[in-house]
Symmetry: C2
Subunit: 207 residues, 2 copies
Amino acid sequence: MAPRDVPYIVVSRLPLYLRALTFLAEEGKEITSSQELGKKLGLSPAQIRKDLSHFGEFGKQGTGYEIGYLQQQLKRILKVTAKWQMALIGTGDLGRAIVLHYGGFERRGFHIATVFDRDPRKIGKKLGQFEILNSQLIPQYVGKAGIKIAILAVPASEAQNVAENLIQAGIRAILNYAPITLSVPHSIQVQYMDPVIYLQRMTYYLE
Amino acid sequence: MAPRDVPYIVVSRLPLYLRALTFLAEEGKEITSSQELGKKLGLSPAQIRKDLSHFGEFGKQGTGYEIGYLQQQLKRILKVTAKWQMALIGTGDLGRAIVLHYGGFERRGFHIATVFDRDPRKIGKKLGQFEILNSQLIPQYVGKAGIKIAILAVPASEAQNVAENLIQAGIRAILNYAPITLSVPHSIQVQYMDPVIYLQRMTYYLE
């Protein structure tokens, strides 16, 4: 099935399946079931079987899923068997936290390749292993390195401008931490790390 | 319609509608349409009309939606007309970024009321306007203040333990920044701010 033919809501759950499988593998398990996965993720076993059936046949009736195999298949479907190079823009507290303390990228298919800021007081300084580069160099560096993914950790007021520069430089996917909706062409992927969106999805259910 | 009867996928889009409406209002607009909202959000106008129809009749055929009215209705549905008090746990770079630099909580229904850390070198110090409290005081403070929402910005290895303490203290919704899946009772809301999940939702579509 072509990637675009699978409903987005199904695609959006695949990374959650992969994360849950990794968690089970780290616990030393080798086999799981749609029941166990469903319990971990708050989904019905039938939903999980139906989601996975869009991509092939990964388990056997009665014996469940081989965790290592299903992990590999999900990584292939999500295209994270090799590492994607990423550019990070913005080195405030949030950019610092992402670069220095978030340990989850490398083993899950991602690598920060370069870090930009527009603040002259930061340009040329070190952030962890990175030298902070001038944002004006985005076209040159991002294009040359063939980087397709950017993490946007700049203030809301700058986010749209920076996004446009990134797209011109060849970026195809933006993880946006700024609390604004970006206006981008349909061919560009954008995901939002806006905490209020996720908080409001919970308050709906609170008394 | 009772809150639980609306599909989660519909509920999950309401905060995006509210954010887009706020954006339009800040541009000085008073009326919008399902076409305009759809264009902003990458959804079909029919989808938007269908989503909203779960909650009532908010626009008129041909005249569109009154932005201020629809904002108020969505705030009511999402229960963010008043402010929710929140506890933040963890004051590393990420906790710092959330407290000091993320400006989006107050005007969107949320207020950080108290900040905790377990590191003796941090307890008693100031973070912005907050005195950092000992995590051991969570049961006492959170319960007494009637706080229902927590932001979890602790390392992955501590997240499950802290979550259990929070739930015992009366927390009903957790925004989890730690890159692990929490095991919590069904009655507890959890949302994950795990960047890799959002990155993998984009790489699926990349060539």
